[in-house]
């Protein structure tokens, strides 16, 4: 079976996000009352797996092995 997945990695709460902070300040300069911007990375993945649980298991393994850095990231997985 073929599955499509979206993996989102983002910095853990409280970590410095200079890109988000810069965008937040720029939005304030444009007149928007934006108090916080956080950035995240989204990976769009297509994969072959025996079932949705198998797919989810492999995606979780990919996050642990490479896609996320456990020291700084939280990640989430959506599969369909």
């Amino acid at each position: 079976m073929k599955y499509r997945a979206e993996i989102t990695t983002e910095l853990k709460p409280g970590m410095l996000d200079p890109e988000g902070a810069t965008i937040q300040r720029a939005l304030v300069h444009l007149g928007y009352n934006v108090t916080s911007v956080g950035t995240a990375k989204k990976l769009l993945i297509e994969l072959e797996a025996d079932g949705i649980d198998d797919a989810r298991g492999m995606l979780d393994e990919m996050c642990k092995k490479m896609l996320a850095n456990p020291v700084i990231h939280n990640y989430s997985i959506e599969v369909q």
């Binding site: 910095l11 970590m15 410095l16 200079p18 890109e19 490479m66 896609l67 850095n69 020291v71 700084i72």
Partner: protein, 234 residues
């Protein structure tokens, strides 16, 4: 005795390190493509650059190449492994060193000379320094903001894993001397055995007086001396 400088696609400080080791320190050194074997070397340098275009995270892809397993085995065997700049990013991504390297607090590429304080002299790379000595070399990076959470940092401090800190010219750890937002002004870290060092500053760019400083040379000399002594005892 022979050293290896590892080249990934996007490494670009390899020839600088090669020149310093071969021509200045005077030790035989090979440039080794990441697909080639490295088991017979007495030490390894992972040079700076932008391996794999810094895709995913700086150092993330190179850290998962098979040669890193071979480098881990050399490190476990006590051989010196030095990662400079992108090499440091590769070593933290591979788990050989603690922490992570994030985007600079001011999120731009930062290229300038910095002062470093030597925090530890009982490592494979710092035996030729005095503890607390202030040395100079340049940095050139955008992802050099060293991060470890409070628990990890406490453990790193108690294990004495911090080798260099960014300081002012008098050796004080002050916010103004921190170029990138690194926790506790951390510029370089070692593993608990002291034979794996990662550092954001570039010792190879400060290893000849004509470059403005030769403080970096003592890192390479210490490493060669350590490898030589290890050969005598093994």
């Amino acid at each position: 005795m022979k050293f290896a400088i590892i080249r990934f696609g996007g490494s670009n400080c390899d020839l600088d390190v090669h020149h310093i080791l071969n021509d200045v320190v005077g030790v035989s050194t090979d440039l080794v493509w990441y697909k080639d074997p490295i088991k017979d070397y007495d030490g390894v340098v992972i040079p700076g650059g932008f391996s794999y275009g810094d895709y995913l995270r700086a150092g993330a892809i190179a850290a998962r190449t098979p040669i890193m397993n071979a480098i881990s085995r050399l490190a476990e065997a006590g051989k010196p492994v030095l990662g400079i700049c992108n090499g440091f990013q590769i070593l933290v991504e591979s788990g050989l060193l603690s922490g992570a390297l994030c985007t600079n607090e001011y999120p731009k590429f930062c290229c300038k000379w910095v002062n470093l304080r030597v925090e530890k002299t009982d490592t494979a790379f710092t035996s030729r320094f005095r503890k607390g000595e202030v040395i100079r070399m340049p940095i050139a990076h955008k992802e050099g903001n060293f991060f470890a959470d409070d628990t990890a940092l406490r453990s790193m401090n108690s294990n004495r894993e911090i080798a260099f800190r960014y300081v002012d010219s008098d050796g004080n750890v002050v916010p103004e001397s921190n170029p990138n937002g690194s926790v506790a002004n951390t510029a370089g870290v070692v593993n608990t055995s002291g034979n794996v060092l990662g550092m954001m500053p570039h010792p190879e760019r400060a290893s000849e007086a004509v470059l403005g400083s030769d403080d970096g040379l003592r890192i390479f000399e210490s490493m060669v001396e350590y490898a030589d002594a290890s050969r005598d005892t093994s």
